[in-house]
C-alpha cells in the first residue's frame, strides 16, 4: 500500500500508458508487470499521452490524470483518471465520444495553474497546431489555433465585446489602474488591448483611464461565451459580480415566441436571414426551434436566477422540449440512459462535428437544472446542464443543426456592430456601497 507523503521527493513514480490495438493499457508504477487496466478496449489507439497533478480541490486525498488518446483513424479521445492516495486506487471515466478528427500527434498537460486539462495537437492539415483546453466546471472545450508567423493582413472574427466599468459612489470615474480580479472558463481573451489567458484562478486586470475594462472574446462556432466572475475590492470591502459575455445573444434568443419570429428574422441592416423558399421547406424545423427558444428564457432563469434581467421569461408550458422527436414517442427517454454527466462537453463536440443521422434530443427542466437526453446511433445518453454557458452551446448546436444555418448567418441575426445608443440600452447596472458597477455588451 502506498501512502505518499508530499514532502518526500522520492515518492514520485512513473506509470506506463500504452496505446494499443485494444484500447489504452494503464500499468501502475507499483506493479508494472501486472495485467494492465484497459481503457476504451473497443478502440485501436496509435498514441496516448498522460499528465497527472494533485487535485487542487482534494490535495490530501487524490490526484487527477488527464489522458488523451489518438485512434488509428486520427480521432481524439479524452479520459479523466482519478488516483486515490489511500490504497493507490485508480479509476477512469470517459464519454466514449471522440472530440476531434484529423489529429496526428499530441502533447498534453494538466495545467494546475488554470485547473484545466490542456492539449497541444498537430492536425493532419498544413500548419495546424491547435491548443485545446477543458473547463473542469462546465466540462466544455475551447480551442485556439496557434500562430507562429504574424499574418500580414488584418484578420476579422466575430467576438463578444464586454465592457466593465467601475465608478465611485458619487458617479465619478474611478482612477486609472484600479484593478479587478476576473475568473472565467479557460479562454484566451484580449482585455484593454492585452492578451490574457483567463481561467478559474483570478487574473488581475487594470482599468484604463476611463475606469473601464473592455474584454474581447472570440465567438466559437456554438456561440460559446464565458461568464466573467468579477471581484471588486475597495477599502477592504469586496463584491463579486457575474457578467455574461453573451447577454445580447441570450436576450435575442429568449425573445423568440413562435416560428414567425425565426422565419422573419432580419440582420442588423434589415436583410432577411432566411430566404422565403428556404423558410417554406423548413417550416417544421422552424416550429420545433421556436418551441425550444420560446422556453429558452425560462431555461436560463432556471439555472441562473440572477440572469432574470437579461432574458424574457415565459412560463414554461411543457416540461420537455424536443428536437427530432414525435411527442407521443418518448419511451426511449424513460428507458434511458447512460449518464455522461461529467462529459457534457464531449457530447456537444460530437454534435458540433455534424453527426446528425437519427439524432434526437430532449431538454427537460428539472428543478434547478436541465437534463439533456440524446439519442444517437441507437445509444441514449443523458447529461445535466447547470450553467448558462453550456446551455447556450447546447441550444445553438441544435439550432444550427435543425435550421441548417452556419455561424455567419447566426451572427448576422444575433450580432451587431458597435453603436453607442444600442450599447447603452443593453447596459446592466449593479451597485455596491463602495463602488458603482455597470456592465454592458
Amino acid at each position: 500500500m502506498i501512502e505518499p507523503t508530499l514532502a518526500d521527493e522520492s515518492n514520485s513514480y512513473t506509470d506506463l500508458l500504452a496505446a494499443s490495438e485494444k484500447g489504452i493499457g494503464f500499468y501502475d508504477h507499483a506493479k508494472p508487470t501486472d495485467k494492465p487496466l484497459v481503457i476504451l478496449p473497443d478502440i485501436s489507439f496509435k498514441q496516448v499521452v498522460c499528465s497527472e497533478a494533485v487535485d487542487p480541490k482534494n490535495p490530501t486525498t487524490q490526484s487527477l490524470l488527464t489522458i488523451f488518446g489518438v485512434s488509428d483513424g486520427g480521432e481524439l479521445y479524452f479520459v479523466q483518471g482519478t488516483r486515490q492516495f489511500k490504497g493507490n486506487k485508480m479509476s477512469f471515466a470517459h464519454s466514449g465520444f471522440p472530440l476531434r478528427e484529423g489529429v496526428s500527434r499530441l502533447s498534453c498537460q494538466y495545467n494546475s495553474l488554470a485547473n484545466a486539462s490542456e492539449l497541444v495537437y498537430l492536425g493532419t492539415g498544413k500548419n495546424e497546431v491547435k491548443h485545446l483546453s477543458r473547463d473542469p466546471i462546465t466540462t466544455c472545450w475551447n480551442e485556439e489555433t496557434l500562430c507562429f508567423q504574424a499574418t500580414t493582413k488584418t484578420t476579422t472574427y466575430p467576438a463578444y465585446i464586454t465592457t466593465i466599468g467601475v465608478s465611485s459612489e458619487s458617479g465619478s470615474t474611478i482612477a486609472r489602474d484600479f484593478k479587478l480580479h476576473i475568473t472565467s472558463e479557460p479562454m484566451m481573451v484580449t482585455a484593454n488591448d492585452r492578451s490574457y489567458y483567463l481561467n478559474r484562478k483570478p487574473s488581475t486586470i487594470a482599468c484604463n483611464s476611463s475606469g473601464q475594462i473592455t474584454i474581447v472574446t472570440p465567438v466559437d462556432d456554438l456561440l460559446g461565451a464565458p461568464v466573467f466572475n468579477v471581484k471588486v475590492e475597495n477599502a477592504g470591502v469586496s463584491q463579486m459580480v457575474k457578467v455574461h459575455a453573451a447577454q445580447r445573444v441570450l436576450r435575442i434568443l429568449s425573445k423568440v415566441k413562435d416560428a414567425k419570429d425565426i422565419s422573419g428574422a432580419v440582420s442588423t441592416n434589415g436583410q432577411p436571414i432566411f430566404s422565403s423558399s428556404s423558410s417554406d421547406s423548413r417550416k417544421e424545423s422552424f416550429q420545433e426551434s421556436a418551441e425550444l427558444l420560446s422556453n429558452f428564457g425560462s431555461m436560463v432563469h432556471t439555472i441562473d436566477p440572477g440572469a432574470k434581467d437579461m432574458v424574457s421569461i415565459t412560463p414554461t408550458a411543457s416540461q420537455d422540449l424536443s428536437i427530432g422527436v414525435k411527442k407521443e414517442n418518448k419511451s426511449w427517454l424513460e428507458n434511458a440512459a447512460t449518464n455522461v454527466g461529467e462529459f457534457l462537453g464531449d457530447m456537444l463536440e460530437m454534435i458540433k462535428r455534424g453527426i446528425k443521422t437519427g439524432l434526437k434530443v430532449v431538454f427537460r427542466i428539472i428543478g434547478p437544472v436541465i437534463k439533456i437526453f440524446l439519442k444517437i446511433a441507437g445509444k441514449v445518453v443523458e447529461a445535466v446542464v447547470k450553467t448558462v454557458g453550456p446551455l447556450l452551446r447546447a441550444v445553438s448546436s441544435f439550432l444550427k443543426d435543425s435550421l441548417g444555418i452556419d455561424l455567419g448567418k447566426i451572427m448576422e441575426w444575433l450580432g451587431f456592430g458597435f453603436g453607442v445608443g444600442k450599447t447603452k440600452k443593453t447596459q446592466v447596472v449593479s451597485s455596491h456601497p463602495s463602488c458603482l458597477f455597470h456592465r454592458h455588451i
Partner: protein
C-alpha cells in the same frame, strides 16, 4: 541516422534523455536498428566533455530488430527505462506463438553499479499489439 565510433557502426532509431551523475546534466539514451553483426540494442551517451568513452553499449535482453521507443521509468523497485521494441522473430520466420511482434520491457539500473539488472516483461495479452508508450510521472513530492 547512421553513426560509427568506438562501439561500431550503428543505426539510431530513437533518442531519449535520462538523469546522470556526471558533470553533464543529462545522459542520452539511443535505441538502434539491428545491423548485420548486432541485434537492436541501446546505448547510453554521456555528453560531458571529460568523458573518454561517451557511447556505452547496453545489453538488450531480447532479440530485437528495432528499438521503437524509450521512456524513463521510476517504479517502486528502482529507476531505468521502459522500452518498446520490435521482435526479430518475424524477420527470420520464427513462430511467435500468437504473441504480438512488438514487445515492451522495463529494465532497472542497479543503484550502486549503474548496471542494468534483470528486465521485467510488460504483459500485453489484454491489449494486443502496442503502438506507442508514454510514461507519466505522478506528482507525489
Amino acid at each position: 541516422m547512421s553513426i560509427a565510433n568506438s562501439e561500431g557502426q550503428k543505426k539510431v532509431s530513437y533518442l531519449a534523455l535520462g538523469p546522470t551523475d556526471s558533470s553533464a546534466k543529462v545522459k542520452i539514451t539511443a535505441g538502434s536498428h539491428e545491423q548485420t553483426d548486432i541485434a537492436a540494442t541501446f546505448y547510453t551517451i554521456d555528453p560531458s566533455p571529460e568523458s573518454q568513452k561517451p557511447w556505452m553499449v547496453a545489453a538488450f535482453p531480447e532479440d530485437a530488430s528495432e528499438i521503437l521507443e524509450i521512456q524513463p521509468a521510476k517504479v517502486r523497485s528502482g529507476s531505468g527505462h521502459f522500452t518498446l521494441y520490435r521482435r526479430v522473430a518475424r524477420d527470420i520466420g520464427l513462430d511467435l506463438k500468437g504473441e504480438p511482434d512488438v514487445g515492451c520491457l522495463v529494465q532497472l539500473l542497479d543503484p550502486t553499479t549503474g548496471e542494468l539488472i534483470a528486465p521485467l516483461r510488460i504483459l500485453t495479452a489484454e491489449i494486443g499489439q502496442i503502438r506507442s508508450i508514454s510514461s507519466s510521472l505522478n506528482p507525489w513530492k
